[in-house]
Every structure is written in C-alpha cells, then in structure tokens.
C-alpha cells in the first residue's frame, strides 16, 4: 500500500480548490461573531459613541458652546435653575449654565480614553509578565503569583483612595490604578494559560527542533493566548469606564472641572430633582456604553470558544 494509499487518505479532505487557504480559527470566530446579533448591534453602538466623541468639537462649534463655557443668562433661569432641553441647549444646561450635550460628548472622550489606554497598558504588561512568569516558572513565578493573589484580594477603590490621599487625584493616577489592577487580572490569566500550554507536546516539539525559549514563547505560546486575552481585554474596557466614572463621581478622578461622566453626574446631585435630565442623560449614556462593551465582550467570548457556556 504505502504512499498511494496514503495519498488516498489525503484525498478524504473536504474538497477545496488547491492553494486556497483554509478557514483558520480567526476567520471562523469572526464569522460566528457576525451571526451574533446582540454583539453586532453593540459594535455599531460603540462605533457611534466613538464617532460622537471624535465629533465633540464639531458639536461645540455648531451650538457655539465650549465644554467649559458658562452661560449664566441663557443657561440658567432667573430663579437660578438650569434650563431644560431647547433649540440652543439641546439637552439642557447644568447648574452653572454649561451645555450638557457638549460636556457629555467631551466626557465620552475621557471615558473612552481611560478605558482603552488603561486596558492597552494592562494587556501589554500583563501578557509579557504573565507569559514570562508562567513559562520560566521557578521562584520568580511563585512570588509573582502570590503578589497577584494579594493585589487582587484588595479592593481597588481602597487603594485608589490611599494613593489619591498621598499623591493627589488626577488623570495619570487614575489610569495607573486602573491599569495596575487590570494588569494583575490579565497577568494571572495569562500565567495560568501559559502554564497549561507549557506542558503541551507542541512546546516540547519546538524544543526538540532546537527553538530557543524566547522564540518558543512568542511563536508557539503567544498565538494560543490571543483568545483568552481578547476576551478579558474586551471585558476590562467597560470595567475601566465604570471605574473612571465612579472615581470621578467620588472626587478622586479627573480634575472636577474636566467634563467626565462621573463628574457631570456628581454635579447633577444638587439639581436633578428639578432638572432630571442632568441625571438621566449622562446616566443613560454611561449605561449604554458599558452595556454595549459587555455584550460585545460576551459575544467575543462565545465566538472564540463556542463550546464554553456563558458564565
């Protein structure tokens, strides 16, 4: 038999024109994601929010209201109350006579910036540190695993409070704290996955071919980490956005004059009984944003690992 039969076996493959690349795992995942209606709607919503954030200066130009401009005469009634939605103030004004819509759109920039930048930082450092620790093992790994456990068992709000007390609140500190905790979560997942892959035969195969450790890590381990890392990263973005809003609401986030969603909501505290829009519009925007990211994250998870049940 031998080679001829072997070729016969090769022929068992589903017919495909020769030379056409097969559908790889990424293609298949994307096709599954495209069939997930909730995820696709979320993606569209996120695209709109990003577009609105980018166009914030355009809206400022059209309405003629900068994000910090106060209009004590047009924006506030003679009794000192903020005006409601109108042709000049599309979503109304806040207690200082500033345009709510324009401030919300500038707030979207802060939220998206914090969410994406801190997740990006966390992903890059988390993947590298987690992969090196998991792959090399030894006492460095043991120590790192312990430290990550301790870090993750502490509430980040508490740490943010202490750090804000020492160094003063602000955007850099905010991003640092969020990125640090996201990093810990990412590093832990990546480390666990790397340890699981380290024992797989294809890693041993790479070693038997004479591949170095660094090459093995980046060529053989990394491609297998992309799925869990993508899932976690897509869920870290909404968490970061909520965290930014929460800290800004507590006065520990961005400079209070900066139009961030959390700060806008905090300032609404004094007025929303008479002007509910000051509470409802930013709350809705925040909720839609985080919900869209979470739905997309769930969809990405299902698409990358169709067997795993939703947790």
């Amino acid at each position: 038999m031998s080679l001829t039969e072997a070729q016969a076996e090769a022929e068992h493959l589903p017919e495909q024109p020769p030379g056409v690349p097969g559908k790889g795992p990424w293609r298949l995942a994307w096709e599954r994601l495209r069939r997930d209606r909730a995820a696709m709607i979320s993606l569209a919503v996120i695209a709109v929010i990003v577009l609105l954030a980018l166009l914030a200066p355009v809206f400022a130009a059209i309405t003629g209201h900068g994000p910090q401009d106060q209009f004590p005469s047009e924006g506030v009634t003679p009794e000192g109350l903020p005006v409601g939605p109108s042709a000049t103030f599309w979503l109304g004004a806040d207690g200082l006579g500033r345009d709510l819509l324009v401030r919300m759109l500038y707030g979207a920039r802060i939220s998206l910036f914090v969410g994406i930048v801190s997740t990006l930082l966390a992903t890059v450092f988390g993947v590298i540190i987690g992969m090196v620790a998991g792959f090399y093992g030894g006492w460095v790994d043991t120590l790192l695993a312990r430290v990550l456990d301790v870090v993750l068992s502490f509430p980040y709000l508490l740490v943010a409070i202490v750090l804000a007390a020492v160094y003063g609140a602000g955007l850099p500190l905010l991003i640092f704290v969020i990125a640090f905790f996201s990093f810990a979560a990412m590093a832990r997942i990546v480390r666990g996955q790397t340890i699981a892959y380290r024992e797989r035969e294809f890693i041993e195969a790479a070693r038997s071919l004479g591949a170095g450790k660094v090459r093995t890590m980046f060529v053989d381990v990394l491609p297998n980490l992309i799925a869990p890392v993508t899932v976690l990263a897509s869920l870290l973005i909404p968490t970061s956005i909520v965290f930014e809003a929460t800290l800004s609401y507590l006065g520990l986030g961005v400079d209070p004059r900066t139009p961030s969603w959390g700060a806008i909501l905090y300032e609404a505290t004094d007025y929303y009984r008479v002007a509910p829009g000051l509470l409802l519009f930013p709350a809705l925007m925040l909720l839609i944003t985080t919900l869209a990211f979470n739905l997309l994250g769930d969809g990405v998870r299902d698409a990358l690992d169709p067997r795993a049940d939703r947790r």
Binding site: A6, P18, P21, A205
Partner: protein, 338 residues
C-alpha cells in the same frame, strides 16, 4: 551510532509552601544501557510508566540525564553543540493533536526547523517537497492542523522531523493515538522513508505487536530498566524473561499467530510505584517464578548467546510452562504496598 551507558533519570518530588523540599524521587529510568546501530530500527516496549518515553527524551536531549552517558557518534551529547545535535537527531511525538500548534498553519509548522536553523533556500518549495514525501497534498500548506485527520497530522509531524535531514529519528509511540486502520499506513510510511532516506529509528511502543513489524531488535523495559533485549524474531520465538512472556501472552489475544501456541498469563497486582521501587529484581512482586534470590539480588543483563540479553536469575527455558500462580515468598517489609 548511539550508545547509552547506565543512564539514570530521576525526577524529584517537591513539597512545601515557600521553600520546596525534596521528599522523594521518581526513578523513571534507572540504569539503562543499550546501543543503536546505524540503519537499524531498535524497538523499545513496556507498559505505560516503565520509563520508555523518558528514555526517548533523554536520547533526544530533551531531558538532562541524572547519571550515565549518552554518546552519539562516539561523542557525549552533553558536550555536543545542541544545534548540530538537533539536526542529526529528531523526534516524532505520540499525540498528533497535542504536538502541532493549533493556531499556526501547517506550512509554517513544517518550516519551523528550517527557520530555527536558518537554512537558506526556497522554504516554501522545501516544505511542499516534504509534504509530498510524507503523502500529503502539497497544496494544503496553508491550512490549520484542525483541518486534517489524525493520520494526516502524524504525517505533518513526520515531515517536520525530517526537514533537517536527520540521521536518527526517535519515534515515541507514533501510532498509539491513531485508529487501528490508520496505524498500518503510518507504519508503512515510516518504513518506506527509512529505506528511501537511510534513517535509523528508535521506535517506542507499548505493545509488542506494533514493534514486531518494524524492529530489527527489541528491548523490553520494566520499571525503568531493560529486562530483555534481542533480535526481534528471537525475542518472539524464545522469550526468556517472565515479563516478556507475560507481555507476549497478552498480545496474543489480538494476534492469532501467537495465540495458538501460548496460554494467557495474567500478572498479579499492579506495576509498583517508581518512587520506591522493589528491591532486587524489579519484577519479583509480580513474577510467577520469583524466589528469595530475586528479592535480595538485582539480576544483571547477561548475554545468553547471539546477542540475546536477559536480566533474570531464572530465565524461562524453551518449552517451559508458566502459570499465573504467584509463589508465596518471604516479602521484605520495605516492599511498598499500593
């Protein structure tokens, strides 16, 4: 070509929260000596856990040996340039699913050795040649491992192992994960390639019937040691170690050639733990012929003529009838009861 001298490989067992203490050792390979001659196929058989895979990994340099020497072309492999050594000695793995990275295309998997060893030339052409050599459609280099069947994946593994034109290929149970109908195809491919390329094989398997077809000589391992080594035909016709007899009688159930001649010998008990192996002959707690001497003294691998090596104080004679009965001998208290 390759000589293995008294090789031992122990794995430490560690325990402790921060500071790991060594609390024991797994005696995976415990004093193995054998030789692989150029152009031959040396089969190594034994039950799972007997140390055959560990031995394979020592030979390919994936494990550093605890003691002993492995020489390739007369030079200790520990002192050889690892890259040069890897070109000459390659490995085919057991699990065709686990040994190929699921996230990479087949072409790049097969090209790996060429990239790692910085071999110049048309990589894609060479990959396609290799794929044709092992009976794969060369046009499929762009596909992922998941798109191939088990047998085809094992062919990919073989193509990868052959990319560097090695002289010695260690096959670690290359067919045991495959369907029986596919096993023969892969084995035939391996023998064809041996003829075509003049390869030398170390062929590891857990059942004798597979090894029988491919091997010139066969070594039988039990608990980290070689208990019998002989030319294939010799071993099958006149097995001298009781353990080999037992293995053959087990294999005979599926092999009509053998079943006519042999009665099934059922071994008592399980394989003892390699953490704390039995004294004397490793096989004595399960051996139907065991006597006091077997508990006290470890038998050496002795040549009984024409290269038939056996490690047994009381080898089985031709025509002797072995029973499944286990003799009651004075057990020493150090014997682990599992």
């Amino acid at each position: 070509m390759l000589s293995v001298t008294d090789v031992r490989k122990y794995f430490p067992i560690k325990e402790g929260l921060f500071i790991k203490k060594e609390v024991g050792r797994v005696h995976a390979v415990d004093g193995v000596s054998l030789e692989v001659r150029a152009g031959e196929t040396l089969g190594i058989v034994g039950e799972s856990g007997c140390g055959k895979s560990t031995l394979a990994r020592c030979i390919t340099g994936l494990h550093h040996v605890t003691a002993g020497r492995i020489e390739f072309d007369g030079k200790d492999i520990a002192t050889l340039d690892p890259k040069a050594f890897r070109r000459d000695v390659q490995m085919i793995f057991q699990d065709p699913y686990g040994s190929l990275n699921p996230r990479r295309r087949v072409g790049s998997i097969i090209a790996d050795p060429l990239k790692i060893h910085r071999i110049e030339g048309d990589t894609r052409k060479r990959v396609q040649e290799l794929m044709a050599l092992v009976g794969l459609n060369p046009e499929h280099y762009n596909r992922f491992p998941a798109e191939f069947s088990g047998g085809q994946r094992q062919r990919i593994g073989i193509a990868r192992a052959l990319a560097l034109n090695p002289r010695l290929v260690v096959c670690d149970e290359p067919v045991s994960a495959l369907d029986v109908s596919i096993q023969a195809q892969v084995i035939n491919l391996l023998t064809d390639l041996q003829d075509q390329l003049g390869l030398t094989y170390v062929f590891i398997a857990h059942d004798l019937s597979v090894v029988r077809y491919v091997s010139d000589r066969v070594a039988v391992m039990y608990l980290g040691q070689v208990v019998e080594l002989a030319v294939g035909e010799d071993l099958y016709k006149t097995p001298r170690h009781p353990y080999t007899n037992a293995l053959l009688s087990a294999a005979s159930v599926a092999d009509p050639d053998l079943s006519a001649k042999r009665e099934r010998i059922v071994l008592m008990g399980d394989v003892p733990s390699p953490i704390n192996p039995p004294t004397g002959c490793r096989f004595h707690p399960r051996c139907p012929k065991a006597r006091e001497r077997c508990v006290a003294e470890m038998p050496l691998l002795i040549d009984s003529g024409n290269g038939h090596l056996t490690a047994c104080h009381f080898p089985v004679q031709p025509g002797e009838h072995l029973t499944s009965e286990h003799p009651q001998i004075q057990q020493q208290s150090t014997e682990p009861q599992l």
